[in-house]
Amino acid sequence: MSEHAAQGWRARLLSETPCSRREAKLGQAYRGWLQFRQNRLALLGLAIVVALIVIAVLAPWIAPHHPHEQNLAQRLLPPGTGAHLLGTDEFGRDILSRIIYGARVTLYIVVLVALIAAPIGLIVGTAAGYLGGWLDAALMRITDVFLSFPSLILALAFVAALGPGIENAVIAIALTSWPPYARIARAETMTIRNSDFIAVARIQGAGTGRILFRHVMPLCVSSLTVRVTLDMAGIILTAAGLGFLGLGAQPPMAEWGAMVSSGRRYILDQWWVATIPGLAIFIVSLAFNLLGDGLRDVLDPRQKK
């Protein structure tokens, strides 16, 4: 694209008179991006998250070895030995390849939990906040019950009941992570429901469902997005914790938490076996936190300077 064409694009996105709904929306998004770009740390977080996604998608092509391929003759090699950039674990499996495949598991958990927990929280919270009355009381007491459990312990109980495995870990984490979203969505809805634009929708004859889905929820989504992104780190850590306790991913699946767990036995002599997956968890959690902070500056108008 030539310099001139790029300038034309930008002018059109920033135009005060967009020509279609899509153009208006893209313009808003572009303004948000320009603001987001100011925040260097958030950009770093975004870059790491994008890298995680790329690595997860391309895992079979970029991993030097198969993650389950054992070679007992080459077990516990230190980083940089031969073809193993990050060394090998106790079965002689290439740690770099396992980290790369582990990105898939981490992403799978994070995305699934977000896709399950956020909509549940959004629907429960907006319905409770908008409709009020006994429905509000009932929904919020249920939320309180879930909120009063320590999430890792509740997840443990679920996994113990449903059996260990990555799917059950996802369900368990999702079940424990929706209550805060319901709380946020309810609080937002309470401030929105008495506003004039909702009154207008009612006078126009819009039904409750329409008001909830088309008028209330779009206003709750941005604060919820911020919160979910910030929670991603916690989700990754809980998943890793479950993996570490042997209740999440099962061997031989390459999952970072489980890798830390199995490397624990060699921590004094072969530090890399546990440290490298630990570092991966740390970097990705930090990236989601930085990204969430940057998103909050853009999406949450109350935080604006």
Binding site: R21, F197, V200, I203, G205
Partner: protein
């Protein structure tokens, strides 16, 4: 066109109940513009919200064009629409003007959306280039024009106006009032205008009722208001107060109950 009988609106229940409107009756003929005037807290906006169906905690009778407001008739939205005081609060912040104006059409399954939206924008003096803007790209007066256009999308016969200009700059107020006068003449609208500003009411209405503490103190026509010849002492005091601050007049203010 509009009949209200013994309307009582209360908030809260039992001993804590506050009666914002304590039994008022009035009628507005078709094509008439009726003003409701009073101080803050006199219950004038509450009457309007009850008529619009936003508040259902009332007793008495209210009907518009023969439809009982209490029945939540599905035909009411296409008969009555409302314009609110604060144009910064009455437009959905994440909806473009286009979406705001199409919404009532979509709810009622009316087709030909694009043409109707452009026509409505032209009707309130906004060009087609405003169509895909967000509310934060509009001034207060432009927002109120959009709110008026939205109220007229369903081609209602009755327009309820709740202080439609009091949140706007003085220079913009006159524009909006003239726009409303023009629209009323062109679309033969019946209007109820709530205001604390007697000059606005005198400019817009044929007849008015003065409210105090949830009751109608006096009904009169505009000629009486212009002659400054009301019957009730409260109305005389309101007229005096509307002329601006005067130390002696302020000292003589009485609370009427």
């Amino acid at each position: 066109m509009i009949t209200i009988r013994d309307l009582v609106v209360s908030f809260g229940q039992g001993r804590d109940a506050v009666h914002a409107v304590r039994g008022i009756s009035f009628a507005v003929a078709e094509g008439e513009s009726f003003g409701l005037v009073g101080e803050s807290g006199s219950g004038k906006s509450t009457v309007l919200r009850a008529l619009a169906g936003l508040n259902r905690n009332w007793t008495g009778g209210a009907s518009i064009n023969g439809l009982d407001v209490a029945q939540r008739d599905a035909r009411l939205p296409r008969l009555v629409q409302m314009v609110f005081q604060d144009p910064y609060a009455s437009l959905h912040p994440r909806h473009t003007v286009d979406r705001t104006l199409s919404e009532p059409l979509e709810i009622h399954g009316i087709g030909d959306v694009a043409a109707r939206v452009e026509k409505a924008l032209a009707g309130v003096g906004l060009g087609a280039n405003f169509r895909f803007r967000y509310p934060n790209q509009l001034s207060g007066g432009q927002r109120q024009r959009v709110a008026i256009a939205r109220a007229l999308m369903l081609e209602p016969k009755v327009l309820l106006l709740d202080e439609p200009t009091s949140a706007l700059d003085v220079s913009v107020q006159a524009e909006i009032l003239n726009l409303l006068r023009g629209l009323r003449a062109a679309q033969r609208l019946t209007m109820i205008l709530v205001s604390h500003n007697l000059a606005v009411v005198a400019h817009m209405c044929d007849r008015l009722a003065v409210m105090n503490r949830g009751l109608i103190v006096e009904e009169m026509d505009i000629a009486t208001l212009r002659r400054e010849d009301p019957k009730q002492a409260y109305t005389r005091q309101l007229l005096l107060a509307s002329k601006g601050y005067d130390r002696e007049a302020a000292a003589r203010l009485v609370t009427y109950d």
